[in-house]
Symmetry: C2
Subunit: 218 residues, 2 copies
């Protein structure tokens, strides 16, 4: 699937949502759904759904709709979920520890291999089934363990240097929780969770009474 | 600011980013910036910046650029930050507790007034400077305390009912962390943080080697 060069970020960001809805349908033993029904459930127009999915192949069948399990599996493959991912968390503060204990990741094939911090008071403590390691051990750890994603839950001031450091050690995926935008080489993929930005967006909506259609797509 | 009806969600979601960059400039005692410099820093075209900001008023001045403090304050007002917000957290699991302890919110005027759970083993325990309250006390609490935002850090299966419940008790803003989309009345504003969706977007990018321009706007 290296040819999807022209798919917009808006479509890409809807894929996990499709995957989530289809997973719920499967959990409820629903094996077949029309684009109209899926449209009603997801609050996206049926034509948008068809258009989105057509980017990735031919999934629906006129008069039948979608085979839920098939579509679920195909979108999973598109999202790269046919394999497992190993992640490390750097920064064992509140958010880092919460993510280390967050169980839904494992279900999707995301495994947390280690958690690091530079605070001597934290190193050695246990979080879930991991022991917080000294950040000084990072290089050795990465030399002996294949890691796909570094989860950066560090203060804003430290995150850019750490991002450069993990990339120099071979990491290609960064999940960044610091309130900073990272400028990385082209071959590095970054996804941000900017908590305060999200909260500010909410208060903007509250203050400006934005219409409901703006509330769906976030 | 109730007249900004036609501003797209993409522009709205860029506002916290402007606010963040301008705050950093202020912290570094930079009081004036051209749209070109801001453009370079933020990796957005200068014309996009001008277009975004023109939605909200006349900020720049030809040949001078932007007055950083003024623009920071104005964007803060647009984001609704000229007042404080009181929030409650419902669900004292890993993420709920991490948010209760997350200090950057306070700096922006977001105050966490209480944290609730229905788990008897949790109720009464201390998180930061709050004591976890029984969810049964929620109605009484809201009758005596003005709360703007409910932060929902509950399991997916419980969140829709709880959202309806808090809305029936007068809450108009919901910050949802459960992997579920909430369908709320038009006057309720919802903002989601879907952690697993974000992680799946990252693995999509990793698997499909998306070009760097798709990496900037998230």
């Amino acid at each position: 699937m290296n040819s999807n060069k022209h798919i917009s970020i808006t479509v890409i960001k809807r894929l996990p949502r499709y995957y989530r809805y289809l997973g719920e349908l499967l959990d409820n033993d629903i094996n077949r759904i029309s684009s109209m029904e899926l449209s009603r459930k997801m609050n996206i127009t049926a034509s948008q759904i068809r258009q989105d999915l057509n980017n990735f192949g031919c999934f629906g069948q006129q008069g039948y709709g979608y085979n839920v399990e098939n579509l679920f599996n195909e979108i999973g493959k598109i999202l790269g979920l046919s394999r497992n991912y190993r992640m490390i968390i750097i920064g064992a503060g509140n958010i880092g520890q919460a993510l280390a204990r967050y169980t839904p990741f494992k279900k999707r094939g995301y495994q947390i291999a280690a958690i690091f911090d530079n605070n001597l008071n934290m190193i050695g403590k246990t979080v879930g089934d991991l022991q917080i390691q000294d950040i000084a051990a990072l290089e050795t750890f990465l030399a002996h363990n294949k890691v796909d994603i570094a989860v950066l839950t560090l203060p804003g001031k430290e995150v850019a240097d750490m991002a450069r450091h993990v990339v120099s050690l071979g990491i290609k995926g960064i999940w960044n929780f610091a309130p900073v935008d990272l400028h990385m080489p082209d071959y590095v993929q970054v996804e941000n969770v900017h908590l305060t930005d999200s909260l500010m967006t909410l208060t903007y909506k509250l203050c400006n009474n934005v219409p409901p259609e703006l509330n769906e797509s976030n």
